[in-house]
């Protein structure tokens, strides 16, 4: 009965959440992508690799961001077969570069197993057949341009939640623009890699962290992106042992961060005041608040494996 109630609570956190409601009614089909992502994760956990791959291919076709889940899914699939055949690496205690690189190499080798290759092949062919076989056939070059190529050459320097927006706007025509754009990728990439390797055993938690980091450190960030990780929050909530007060405080902080940014952006966009500096600072604060929330979620994450590790260390 308690489990049923917990399920209901978690489902309500998504179904009655005003943010996804507002975003979905604006004409974005984020709820559809959320459904496909959740189905993929559910099928991977259940061991139905083929069906999961089909859903995954469909999800990536609809929105490109689930492509980042490829690494956690690949790592998770290799961990499910055969368990821990020989401990890999020595963890973060010995921070020598050589050991960590060796650990990564061993993981890379282990990823290439039957399940992962099957997953990759099926999702790749679903994506390819949808793209080339169907949509390119229907819409031609226009489809490829708007679905994929547009993202490569897109330069949106207008104000948004991202901490990089003002930097990119001011340097848009300077010679540093390309280099700065690339530099902005590095923290995102590094964090996604480390988080994948650290938490792949709990696939849903890993994907949640993945998307939260991806969205917070992205060069463009708007409200609709929040829905991408909010749909996974009900699934990770049971694993996070945090006091109500702390959770409420973090939630309030998140809304305060957004509210502050929205206030300055409102004065800029709808009243014509020059609040660029204030909006940018609010963006930096929002990044800090998001990072704080992610750190709190990581530090209060309790799974059986975590508890076992702590007992082993004691």
């Amino acid at each position: 009965a308690a489990a049923g109630r917990a399920c209901g609570c978690c489902a309500a956190a998504w179904l009655f959440n005003p943010l996804p409601m507002a975003v979905s009614s604006r004409g974005n089909a984020e709820a559809l992508v959320a459904l496909l992502v959740l189905t993929t994760l559910y099928l991977v956990e259940g061991g139905h690799i083929g069906k999961a791959a089909v859903c995954y291919g469909l999800a990536v076709h609809m929105k490109i961001y689930p492509l980042t889940y490829a690494l956690p899914i690949a790592l998770h699939l290799q961990s499910k077969r055969g368990g821990r055949e020989g401990a890999v690496g020595a963890g973060c205690d010995r921070k020598t570069k050589f050991t960590f690189v060796g650990y990564l190499w061993q993981l890379f080798v282990k990823i290439q197993n039957r399940n992962t290759l099957l997953f990759g092949a099926v999702s790749g062919s679903v994506l390819a057949s949808l793209t080339v076989g169907w949509f390119y056939h229907l819409y031609g070059w226009e489809f490829l341009e708007h679905a994929y190529l547009y993202h490569l050459s897109r330069r949106d320097i207008r104000h948004n939640f991202s901490p990089y927006f003002y930097m990119l706007y001011l340097t848009a025509e300077s010679k540093w623009s390309f280099a700065l754009g690339l530099t902005a990728f590095l923290p995102q990439l590094l964090l996604l890699l480390i988080v994948s390797v650290a938490f792949y055993r709990d696939l849903v938690f890993c994907c949640f962290l993945h998307t939260a980091i991806f969205v917070s450190f992205n060069k463009v960030c708007t409200s609709q992106y929040f829905v991408w990780y909010l749909c996974l929050l009900p699934l990770v909530m049971p694993s996070i042992k945090m006091s109500w007060r702390r959770a409420l405080l973090l939630l309030v902080l998140w809304f305060v961060g957004q509210g502050l940014w929205l206030t300055f952006a409102y004065f800029l966009e709808f009243k014509g005041y020059n609040t660029f500096i204030l909006t940018w600072l609010a963006g930096l604060l929002f990044l800090f608040i998001n990072s704080l929330i992610i750190v709190q979620i990581i530090s209060h994450y309790h799974q059986e494996a975590q508890v076992a590790k702590k007992l082993k260390q004691q």
Partner: protein
């Protein structure tokens, strides 16, 4: 002397434009009052043609939805608009706005067009950039009306001109276009002198935040 009189008589069509609201999203309100001379213009459709500078744009999807609700009727050339481009990468737009009769006075027509302002280049010192909107041109779409040839001349317009009459329909524009004041719009821009500070602080902030998350992942992550 006769020519002058005719010119004076034809200049009775007055055009006023004003920008409502503030910020990056405005409403361009255009009012046209046809002079007493243009009595033959009854039954003609009145429209204005305006060149939007690269600093402004109209959203074709917004206009299409307004058109569905019968609130505005607009033709945009070209009909594909890049709504994200900054001012220095954007092109001029030619907009033809059909006016509705204004109940406030006889021979008065008006319409409102929602316009949006683009991001402009960051400036060295001034915190605002200026967008100049020239006065629009009045066009009449008349079918089998006889308009005074001294006042109106046929015009080539890339928009449909048709009416209920079976007769041929034709666009006309004013022969002697008077000079009206331009509308000047102020738009906030970033300050170039902030560049170094903004770059350094943004990168420091992202490094700090990513270090926090990295530290947490290393401490609580399972690397066994």
């Amino acid at each position: 002397c006769v020519t002058l009189d005719v010119q004076a008589a034809c200049q009775d069509a007055t055009v006023t434009q004003e920008l409502l609201k503030e910020g990056f999203h405005r409403d361009l309100l255009v009012k046209v009052e046809l002079g007493a001379v243009e009595e033959d213009a009854g039954g003609c459709a009145v429209a204005i043609q305006t060149h939007l500078p690269p600093g402004m744009y109209v959203d074709p999807y917004e206009l299409a939805s307004l058109q569905q609700q019968n609130l505005t009727k607009v033709v945009v050339i070209p009909d594909v608009v890049d709504v994200e481009a900054p001012e220095y990468l954007a092109k001029d737009l030619l907009v033809l706005l059909y006016l509705e009769p204004d109940p406030q006075c006889a021979r008065c027509f008006r319409a409102a067009l929602p316009v949006h302002v683009r991001y402009h280049r960051p400036a060295e010192e001034s915190e605002e950039a200026l967008v100049v909107l020239k006065s629009p041109e009045v066009l009449l779409c008349c079918c089998a009306n006889r308009l005074s040839a001294e006042c109106w001349k046929p015009a080539e317009v890339e928009a449909p001109c048709s009416g209920q009459n079976v007769g041929p329909c034709q666009w006309y524009s004013i022969m002697h276009k008077p000079a009206y004041e331009e509308l000047i719009l102020q738009v906030p821009v970033g300050l170039r002198q902030h560049s170094s500070l903004v770059c350094v602080m943004t990168l420091l902030a992202t490094v700090l935040c990513s270090s926090l998350i990295l530290a947490a992942a290393c401490k609580y992550g399972d690397f066994s």
